[in-house]
Amino acid sequence: MSTGETKEARRDARNTWLLSAPALIILTLAAAGPLLIMLVYSFLEPGKYGNVVWEFSTGAWVSTVLTRDIFDGTYHLADAHLTIFWRSVKLSLITTIFTFIVGFPTAWFIATRSARARTALLFLITIPFWTNLLIRTFAINQIIRNEGMLNTFLLYLGVIDEPILIIYSDFAVFLGMTYVYLPLMVLPLFAAIDRFDMRLIEAAYDLYASRLQVLRRVILPIVKPGIIAGSILVFIPALGAYVTPRILGGGRNMMIGNFIELQFGQGRNWPLGAALSVLLLMIVAIALMFYVRAANRDAPHG
């Protein structure tokens, strides 16, 4: 290679960097900046009336999972915190699985319609996004609360004598999250199924596969990228959900999001809130790593 060529290559590289610099700076400030602040705050002392005191401390991190006995000073696992973590992970997982079970047939149905019907159906799927999440969640509240539409209707029919207690339970939160996140599962699944070559079904069927085998051995492995994308799009926001557990779960059935908010509000423990936020981020990152690796083990190349 001649020196002229290296010089040219170097100039190209420099230009590339210069051109992308504005975007990179904004990304760094907007994405990494707040995270960095969180990380720093999580190693400080809480102030009396909120905010932080600039003194290094690992107290917040310790108290994410441990509590100190006020009498003898020994440390125990913080059961209340762990319950909240566990509820968050459990509800998010169940929501992800359930949105997949409901979303897959829906996406399949849409992808196999005529071009015109397809556009209309996809349009319908996006309608919930037109209204604010808060309002939609209150609408669900209206339906399932004890004097809500569902109970009133069932009482009127005489199917039940007393209202069914749905609201302010884990189930209510699950129901709300499934409703809110379903489109996020359907859309990537639709995109994957739309690209799927339906002739492969006949090929598999011709080669002695039963209907179930066609689904398990051909369809699911090929639309897997869509399943992964949908699961990520549902699981991550579900894990950090705030509005839904707040309105449908009441005060008792908190998820991590509500717990973090509590620390910055009434709890007046900003470092703990910051530590919990970073912890949430780490849980998500680790979960993602495992999931993607497991899912890619036998995914198609290219």
Partner: protein, 355 residues
């Protein structure tokens, strides 16, 4: 039922409805395909070849009629319960599986033991000469290689009947010729019944034991290539298979009158009345004008094809005939345009068509 039929269709009819339109894709087709033969379905686009194949494979059920396998009615059996495999025109290879896994798929679904699968896959891959590419994904193969994987995949479970829907149409001419002889070789070696679909008449003539010519959902003629070529039953078959001169004529008493007062002898069993005569260009001879030759024509344009030339001849009433003239090394001359020549037909070459 013919004793040696492996697949039989009895008055198979298929009607598709799309909105208000109904399409009769197959119009009461009856056919018996013999065990171990290379049978070709030949016809223009849209004549129902794929539809017939899909009825045999089980992807569609006939609107009426029956499909039989070895004498048993399988009309309503799903594809996974039929010992019939298909090589799809689009290949339809599984993109998430390697070549080896693709070829082993059918055996795996049948629940064959792993060691046996390994053996059979190896054998199928060596049949199509693809052992070296066994661990690639289909996307990493050329069109011809993918085609052979599709073939190996369909052959591996040792089906009784192999259906091939225009498997060569996506290949270039050279590869196509190669695959044609490859397919013939495989069919000989394995003794499996092949039902092959094409709209290429040359491919059909060179490869088949028997050909079924289709048009607009109906089977017009079934026979060996030679029979179909030399004795087409009607205008459509004569015109579709090879090149043919179609000459209107009046047939009476084993004589066909072509132009005023000129008649030529035809098969006495021929139908009488106004009919069309079919004569292949290679059976048309240009001879010197003489009293023995009643038919004369004016030479028109000629087209040079290398080994032979096609010479246009115009009869007195304007009917156009093409004669094939063998080009010899010594230069058997082509008469110049405008020359008045005599025209003779090889004995037995003139065929009176039903319609």
């Amino acid at each position: 039922m013919p004793a040696d039929a492996v697949i039989e269709a009895r008055a198979a009819r298929k009607v598709f409805r799309t909105g208000q339109q109904t399409v009769v894709a197959l119009n009461d087709v009856s056919i018996a395909i013999r065990k171990g033969e290379f049978f070709t379905l030949l016809g223009p686009s849209g004549c129902g070849k794929t539809t017939l194949l899909r009825l045999i494979a089980g992807f569609e059920t006939p609107s009426s009629g029956q499909i039989l396998l070895n004498g048993n009615d399988i009309t309503d059996a799903p594809p996974n319960l039929r010992p019939v495999n298909t090589v799809f025109q689009s290949y339809a290879l599984f993109p998430h599986l390697t070549v080896r896994q693709n070829v082993g798929f059918g055996l795996q679904m049948q629940g064959v033991a792993a060691s046996e699968i390994t053996d059979k896959v190896k054998r199928a891959l060596s049949l199509v000469r693809l052992e070296d590419l066994a661990d690639r994904k289909p996307q990493q193969l050329s069109g011809g290689q993918q085609q052979r994987v599709a073939l190996a995949r369909a052959l591996a479970p040792s089906p009784e009947v192999l259906l091939l829907d225009e498997p060569l149409s996506a290949l270039d001419l050279k590869l196509r010729k190669e695959m044609q002889s490859e397919l013939k070789r495989l069919q000989h070696e394995l003794g499996i019944t092949f039902i092959f679909v094409t709209h290429d008449q040359e491919e059909a003539l060179t490869m088949s034991d028997r050909i079924g010519v289709m048009s607009k959902g109906s089977l017009l003629q079934i026979g060996a290539p030679r029979e179909i070529y030399n004795h087409p039953v009607n205008r459509f078959v004569a015109d579709f298979i090879g090149e043919t001169n179609l000459i209107p004529a009046e047939v009476r008493n084993a004589k066909a009158t072509i132009v005023r007062n000129v008649s030529i002898p035809v098969d006495p069993a021929s139908p009488e009345g106004a009919h069309t005569l079919a004569v292949r260009p290679e059976h048309v001879r240009i001879v010197p004008v003489s009293g023995d030759v009643p038919l004369t024509a004016k030479v028109g344009e000629s087209v040079y094809f290398g080994t032979d030339s096609h010479i246009q001849l115009l009869l007195a009433d304007g009917t156009e005939i093409i004669a094939r003239h063998q080009n010899e090394a010594t230069g058997g001359e082509v008469p110049p345009p405008g020359t008045e020549v005599g025209v003779a037909f090889a004995p037995g070459a003139v065929q009176v068509l039903e319609d």
